[in-house]
Symmetry: C2
Subunit: 323 residues, 2 copies
Amino acid sequence: MRVLVTGAAGYIGATLVALLRETGQVAGRRVEALALLDRQLPEAGDLSIAGDIASPEVLRRVADFAPDVCFHLAALPGGASEADYEAGRRINLLGTLGLLETLAGERAPVVVYASTIAVYGTALPALVDPSTPLRPPITYGAHKLACEVLLADFSRRGLLDGRSLRLPGIVARPSSGPGLASAFMSDVIRALAAGQPYTCPVSAQATAWWMSARRCAENLVHAAGMDLAGSDPRRAWPLPVLRLSLADVVATGIELFGTDRAGLVRFEAQPAVEAVYGRYPVLDDSASRALGLRDDGSARELLQRALRGLSCAPSRQAEPPRS
Amino acid sequence: MRVLVTGAAGYIGATLVALLRETGQVAGRRVEALALLDRQLPEAGDLSIAGDIASPEVLRRVADFAPDVCFHLAALPGGASEADYEAGRRINLLGTLGLLETLAGERAPVVVYASTIAVYGTALPALVDPSTPLRPPITYGAHKLACEVLLADFSRRGLLDGRSLRLPGIVARPSSGPGLASAFMSDVIRALAAGQPYTCPVSAQATAWWMSARRCAENLVHAAGMDLAGSDPRRAWPLPVLRLSLADVVATGIELFGTDRAGLVRFEAQPAVEAVYGRYPVLDDSASRALGLRDDGSARELLQRALRGLSCAPSRQAEPPRS
C-alpha cells in the first residue's frame, strides 16, 4: 500500500502522518511507502515532495509515486482564501483539480479529501441533514464544494475512489496563524490550559462543531477503508461532531484545569465571525456514524485529546497554515 | 445596456438572439449593443466574437466589450462531455470559470447562466424540490453544478450578479448532432410533424421535462431582470417544466398532425438513456414560478411553439452543437 499525504506539514497533516507511522496500516493493509507533500517539509525518512500542488513538477512526482491512497489535506485556509481570491483559486480549486486529474486512472486510487463544514453556509435550519441545501458563505467553502462535486464525478467514472469528509473545527492548533478564521476554537482551549486571558470573537452562546486533530486523523484513515456499497453517490459526509457552545468549552476547561480559569475568557462577539462560525445547529450525522466515523465522545475527552495532540505537534512555520 | 450572448450560434442561442432583436429590451432597458460569441459565427450586424471561451484572446475581447448582461450558453453538450473529458473540462468547467473571472468586477454585471437539470441525477425522489440533493449522473452536469457554485460565490462577493437556470430538454432542435444525449426529445417531435418513422431510445412511459426554445429564450431574458431580494443565495433555479411522457408527446402529435402518425414511433428503450433522461419525477418549481419564470402551458402549445422555432432556426453546422 502506497500512501500520499498532501498538506503533510500542516496541523492535521502532521497528526495524520504521526498516526500512520504509529499504526503502519490503512484499510487493513500495511503501508509500504509513505510520501509527504507540502510546500516545505522537514527532513524525514519518508519520501518528501516539497512544493505546491498547483506546480506541474510536483504533480509529475505524484504521478511517479503512484499512490494507492491519497489523503488530500493541502489547502489555503478560509480567511486567507477570502482575502486573496487568486491564491485560493490556485490552491483550493485548480490545485485540487490538477491533483485529482493526476491521480485519476484505471487503478482508481482512493482519495480521502478534507472538505469542510463551510460548504453548509449561514442561517442554517435547526437540523442539518443530507437534504440541507449547500450555500457556502466563503470562497473557501465554495471551492471545497466544487471539488467534492468533481471528485464524486471522477468516482462515478471509475477513475478515482473518492471520499470527501467535511471537517469541523479541529482543535487545538498550536498557534493561530493568519488566515484561519476559526482559530478562536483552538485559541480558547490553549488559553484555558495555560491559564492565560483570552478575548473571544464570538459570544459565550455561540455553538460550533468540534473535533480533536487526533480523532480527525483516525477518521481520515478510517474513511480510506469504508465500504461505500449503496451509499450516497455524492461521496461526501460531515464528520460526526460534538456540538458545543463556547460556554460549554470554558466550563469544561474550568473542570479540567481549575476554578482559577473562571473569568479568563472574555467574549467580544464580532457579528461577521459569529454569523459564519458561531451558529452551527444540530447535525444529523447518522449516515457518517453508520460508516464508522466518530466524534470525540465528550467535551472532556475532546479537550484532553486536543491538548495531547498539541504537545507532539510540530512547531509552526511563519507561513500561513496549509491545512 | 450592453448584452453578450455566448453560444450565440447554437440552437438556444440563436433563438435568444432572435428574441433580443425582436424586443430590443432586457430588464426593462434598451439593448444598445449586442455581442455574439461562438466558435463560428455568420456575418451579422452585431459585434461578433468568433472563438472559444477558453481562449485568452476571446476573453480579452469580452473584457473590452464590457457587457452589462451576459447570457452564458456556450457549452459542450452532455454526451460529448461524457465521451471527451478533456474537451468538457476545457469548455464547460475552465472556460466558464475564465469567463466569470473576466466579467467579475465592481460593476458586477448580470450573468444568466444556462445550467441543466442534469445536476439532479438519477433515482430521484417522487418530488424534486430545492432540498433534493444534487448528484449529477454525467460529467456535463457535474461541471455545470460546480460552475453554479462558483457563480453564486462571485455573486456573494458582489463581483457578479448571477442567475443560474437549470434548463430541461429544449425542443425541437433542427437536427440531432452528435453528442447531445437528449436529442430524442427533439427527434420525436420532428418525426411526428414530418410524418416519418422514428425509433425512440426510451420507453413510451419515460417521463421527461420539456420546454420550447422560444419559451426558454423568454425565460433567459426574464431572468436577467428578476428581483432576487430574499431569494436563495445559491442563485440557481430549475425552469418550470411540462412533465410529459413520450406517450403524451406522441398523443399530442397525433392530435395536431393526424391519426396517420399513430404507429410511426417505435420504442426501443436503452437502459442507460432511460435511467438518465427518462425518469424525471414531479418538479416543485414554485420558487421559479414566484420569480416569474414560466413553462409552455400545455403539451399542445409546447409542440406548436417548438415547431415554429424550428422553421426560423439556422441550419446546423457539421460540428457538435455548442449549447
